[in-house]
Subunit: 307 residues, 2 copies
């Protein structure tokens, strides 16, 4: 099923046509408060009451020109300002391809640098999202430069990639902020662990590495981008073992998934953020979410089919 | 099935009577070359040719008096001498209850200390095996003392125990040698992780911690007591990520299990040891081996029933 869903995620016809249908929009509401920034900000404000921060990301079409990348950058600049104005505990996260990485890495860096500057002016940060494996190297290269200029900037690393253990070692001495996720793209066997148990083990191993670094005094920010409570429990136990506590990391879950757990964790003293996506190009993103968790497919179908 | 096997392992009547039957002895040959030390040493010599070292452990009855514990200690002293005389790359591993831990911890320590001394005289070491969770604390306490007197001495830690992450942190600054196993006793939920994926994740997390310590210059010896090739691969990848290689740890597998893999790993430059058990009291140990891996039960039945 995962393969089918990932194939559907890449289907151009569906990507163009499906989101126009009302039933599809309803299904997508499972994972996003709405297509507009205002929808996302309103949801973010509501989370404040539960002591849950947010992360905002706009789901965009592929960027093919400098002009389009400038529009995306301008949009994130607006988001950064709106978060500050509305007094919401949140930051932005974006894909570098949206900022033109594949057209012109230097211009992409400049856009990124400007956003990090704006965020820093409000005491906030930016986090670079990670994409398919072929983009890891240029993304890391840009991030290292950004991190040197703007301490506290973040990046997403994917536990299913075999290279990530080495990538993390390369980043740790530079004091990164890392959102650690399992990984949701379809990658070949030689590039990524395929079995859930290997991915889980890699995930915990990477988190352990960061906690060790933190415990020995390195500034390493940790975001656990997972809905897997068993893993979070294990990592929390490890944090205690090295003399830290549950505030050593933040837990980042997607809007609409395990909200009960997000609230429980926040109540129990964990730092929790809800990652809110919005925008019109939600189709491939949505299909990857379904592929991650078969249970979500059932939920999605229930929104559409009157069982 | 695991529960049934663990219950059978604890059954006193079976423990006494089953090993007398010929068919049971044949089934046990799956996991031990024979009941006598000579059988184990002969098997050990044969492994030399494959570049595989050994670990010897005698399967004993519960010890109830100082005299019995003295007999066990004298036996291991003999084993240490025999390994040296026969020129076999090997060391001994034993349970502290066999050396009288529960009757008199001080005397148990003295026996242990003498064995470690004898081993050191031959450039070898001793490794303390781990038993059920209630014995972890006294075992660790004795080990810490032993390690201070005899650097290089080893202990077994069990990844399924929730406390092990903290135990490892306590040991690392003392430069331990740790045989890391998943754990094979039946332990309650609040004491031990129950699901294989949690145990695996804990296992890799603990191995990662030791590799990090080794990479930052601490003397920490690592024995991976597992037959799980996927985990070994993951840990090897992590070793490379921190600038070490596959000789950073040794792989320890049981006699009779995955011998093809033991040979392959040895050929590929891993340090491999085969853990050979012998002795008459093999019944509960044997049942725990079956409980670990349902495939072994099928194999064992095939030795007995002519399918």
């Amino acid at each position: 099923m995962r393969r089918v869903l990932l194939w559907l995620a890449g289907n151009a016809w569906l990507r163009e046509h499906l989101p126009r249908f009302g039933f599809a929009k309803r299904a997508a509401r499972r994972f996003m408060p709405g297509e507009r920034l205002d929808d996302a900000l309103a949801a973010g404000l509501a989370f404040q009451g539960d002591g849950i921060g947010i992360i905002l990301t706009r789901l965009g079409e592929d960027v093919t020109s400098a002009a389009e990348a400038d529009v995306v950058a301008a949009h994130y600049e607006e988001v950064i300002e709106r978060l500050a104005t509305d007094g919401i505990d949140g930051y932005v996260s974006f894909k570098l391809t949206q900022l033109g990485l594949e057209q012109d890495p230097e211009r992409a860096y400049e856009r990124c640098d400007r956003l990090a500057q704006r965020a820093a002016a409000h005491g906030s940060l930016v986090v670079i999202d990670m994409e398919s494996s072929r983009l890891v190297e240029p993304t890391l290269a840009l991030y290292e430069r950004l991190l040197a200029a703007h301490p506290g900037s973040g990046i997403c690393l994917q536990a299913y990639l075999r290279r990530t253990a080495a990538d993390l070692q390369r980043l740790v001495p530079r004091h990164p902020f890392v959102r650690l996720v399992k990984g949701a793209y379809r990658e070949p066997e030689d590039v990524a662990y395929q079995s859930p148990r290997e991915v889980d083990a890699s995930y915990v191993s990477l988190a352990t590495t960061m906690l060790q670094a933190q415990a020995s005094g390195d500034r390493v920010g940790i975001g656990l981008g997972t809905h897997d409570i068993a893993l979070i429990d294990l990592i929390e136990a490890h944090a205690r073992a090295v003399g830290l506590d549950r505030t050593a990391f933040e837990v980042e879950m997607l809007y609409g998934i395990r909200l009960d757990q997000q609230r429980r964790l926040a109540r129990e003293g964990y730092r929790v953020r809800d990652l809110i996506s919005y925008g019109e190009a939600w189709y491939p993103w949505y299909m990857r979410r379904l592929a991650e968790r078969p249970a979500n497919v059932v939920f999605a179908l229930r929104q559409v089919v009157p069982w």
